[in-house]
């Protein structure tokens, strides 16, 4: 295992310390329980937005704490859901009396821990609503699985409902908007390499030099199928087709196209993949009217990428365009 770390059990705390110093103008880091919160929280008259999940997906979620996006993020151990104590403390720290939304990715651990935290917060008199993202079309049938995983749409949701919350929307409206983002978004990912969980010390799965995993999630878990590595154009088609069919996205649609790197993939490849996606969508009469290209929801140093498409309407476009000022996403400020 080759990593720029000191000891596996220190990775999360030490990276948090780095964030705390680097972004002291935007956020504050609390320890034990660990959470990252907007420096100016709680914001009067604003619904609080809290997300969280295992670490190893940076910049998600801590990098999205700031004006116009999250109020707080709870980082768990690497690839491990945080514990209810973290979400409870974060929820209390951002609660300004207008309620708090928990943005939860659909993983058994995340769902259960956030559920327990919401029960505890409710017991303390804080109104909590929850939304669960489940945009990963690689997981086929929720009758036979824990349901679709929450992946790329989570980033877009945090930005869009962040815009609405900053504009003063109430908890019910925010929850409805979050559910709309989830309903309009679909994702699919692939990996060229596994990643190494620091504590495990070796790759989570072995992948021969000429094979790739299609339909991976974001925890270094194997995907649904393993195939020979092909051309970017074919990989793009393998990711785009199930996404397009699923919603379905149709001719005339306007979409936000999010081409995401898994952590170990260079930007030059992401632009190349964006170019392939652009050709596919143009061929189907779908217009990319907004886009995000970069490594925003990652699996440590995994090489690979994911596509997320979000069908846009005026409301979603407006809140996507709204100003944002966080370590990882910034415009309009």
């Amino acid at each position: 295992m080759k990593k720029l770390i000191n000891a596996p059990e220190q990775v999360v705390k030490e990276a948090l310390a780095g964030m705390a110093d680097a972004h002291a103008d935007l956020l504050t880091v609390h320890y034990d329980p660990d959470f990252i919160v907007r420096a100016d929280a709680p914001i009067a008259n604003k619904v609080g937005l809290v997300s969280g999940g295992g670490s190893g997906h940076e910049p998600m979620h801590g990098g999205f704490v700031g004006k116009g996006m999250l109020d707080a993020a709870c980082p768990g151990a690497v690839f491990t859901s945080p514990v209810p104590d973290q979400m409870l403390a974060a929820t209390k720290a951002v609660s300004a009396g207008k309620g708090v939304l928990h943005i939860v990715k659909n993983y058994t651990g995340d769902v259960m821990n956030f559920e327990m935290a919401a029960e505890l917060a409710a017991a303390e008199g804080i109104e909590v609503a929850s939304v669960v993202t489940n945009d990963d079309v690689a997981v086929k049938d929720s009758l036979y699985t824990a349901g679709r995983r929450g992946v790329g749409v989570t980033v877009l949701m945090e930005k869009i409902v962040g815009g609405a919350a900053e504009a003063g929307a109430d908890l019910a409206a925010i929850k409805r908007l979050a559910e709309k983002v989830n309903a309009h978004g679909r994702s699919m990912g692939m990996a060229l390499t596994s990643c190494v969980v620091p504590h495990a010390g070796k790759p989570t799965f072995d992948l021969p030099d000429d094979e790739m995993e299609i339909g991976i999630g974001i925890h270094g878990e194997p995907g649904r199928t393993r195939v020979k590595v092909g051309h970017a154009a074919d990989i793009a088609a393998m990711l785009a087709a199930p996404i397009l069919e699923d919603l379905p996205f149709k001719q005339g649609d306007h979409v936000l196209a999010f081409v995401n790197g898994m952590g170990g993939t260079p930007l030059i490849e992401l632009y190349l993949m964006y170019n392939e996606l652009h050709k596919i969508l143009a061929g189907q009469g779908i217009t990319i009217s907004r886009r995000l290209i970069g490594s925003y929801i990652t699996s440590l140093e995994m090489a690979g990428c994911s596509f997320t498409l979000l069908k846009l309407d005026d409301e979603l476009t407006k809140f996507w365009d709204a100003p944002v000022l966080t370590p990882a996403l910034r415009w309009g400020y």
Binding site: V83, N113, M116, A138, H199, A200, R224
Partner: protein, 212 residues
């Protein structure tokens, strides 16, 4: 023979030891069909639990088990944190104010734990989870009790059923938890949670056998 509060303390200490020993093995099982953290998660949790034990050493069994449960909830995270946390919490509630447990009590307590996991995880048997090891253990315990077996005999049968249940997860198709994402590819691997559940069952038997 009955289970004393002292046995319960030793039981938790033994789990902590076994989890630490088997940490990499559990994580390795979780690499195959999960995200390579199950051993690390439980080790983190029980290591903290150990530091809490002195403060409840003279308390009733219910208090001990509830402390274990809340500590696991607060330190493990992932799926196994809320699940084992709830299990120990429910077990603690079922043994509130008790300083000794008979074989009958034990069956009640473990069944409460099982029900807690099922309620939290919305899961049933046959989904390739820890339940597939704990469920058969509960059944065996009840059957042994009905047959009039003593505590140790009953527990030996329960541990054997637990092991069989754990091994029976190998050919199962996962439909809950992270392993379910793998679909058919989850077949052929032993479930990490079922394995840790078996470690715990073994730990209880080990403690009681040693104190005989």
């Amino acid at each position: 023979m009955q289970i004393t509060a002292d046995h319960v303390i030793k039981f938790i200490e033994t789990i902590t030891m076994r989890v630490k020993e088997q940490r990499d093995y559990l994580t390795q099982l979780d690499s195959a069909i999960g995200d390579a953290d199950h051993g690390v998660n439980l080790d983190r949790g029980f290591t903290t639990v150990l530091t809490k034990l002195p403060s409840v050493a003279d308390k009733d069994i219910g208090t001990i088990l509830k402390t274990v449960g809340t500590t696991l909830v607060s330190t493990v995270g992932g799926a196994s944190g809320p699940l084992y946390g709830t299990a120990f919490l429910r077990a603690g509630m079922a043994s509130a104010d008790r300083f000794e447990l008979t074989v009958d009590d034990l069956a009640v307590v473990i069944e409460a734990a099982l029900e807690g996991i099922q309620a939290r995880g919305k899961s049933t048997r046959g989904e390739k989870t820890m339940i597939d090891a704990i469920g058969p253990a509960v059944d065996a315990l009840k059957a042994a009790r009905a047959a009039g077996d003593d505590l140790l005999t009953s527990l030996r049968k329960a541990v054997a059923a637990c092991q069989a249940g754990m091994e029976a997860t190998i050919p199962m198709l996962a439909t809950k938890g992270r392993a379910s994402y793998l679909g058919e590819r989850s077949i052929g691997h032993q479930d990490p949670g079922a394995t840790s559940a078996f470690l715990m069952a073994q730990a209880l038997l080990e403690v009681l056998e040693a104190s005989q």
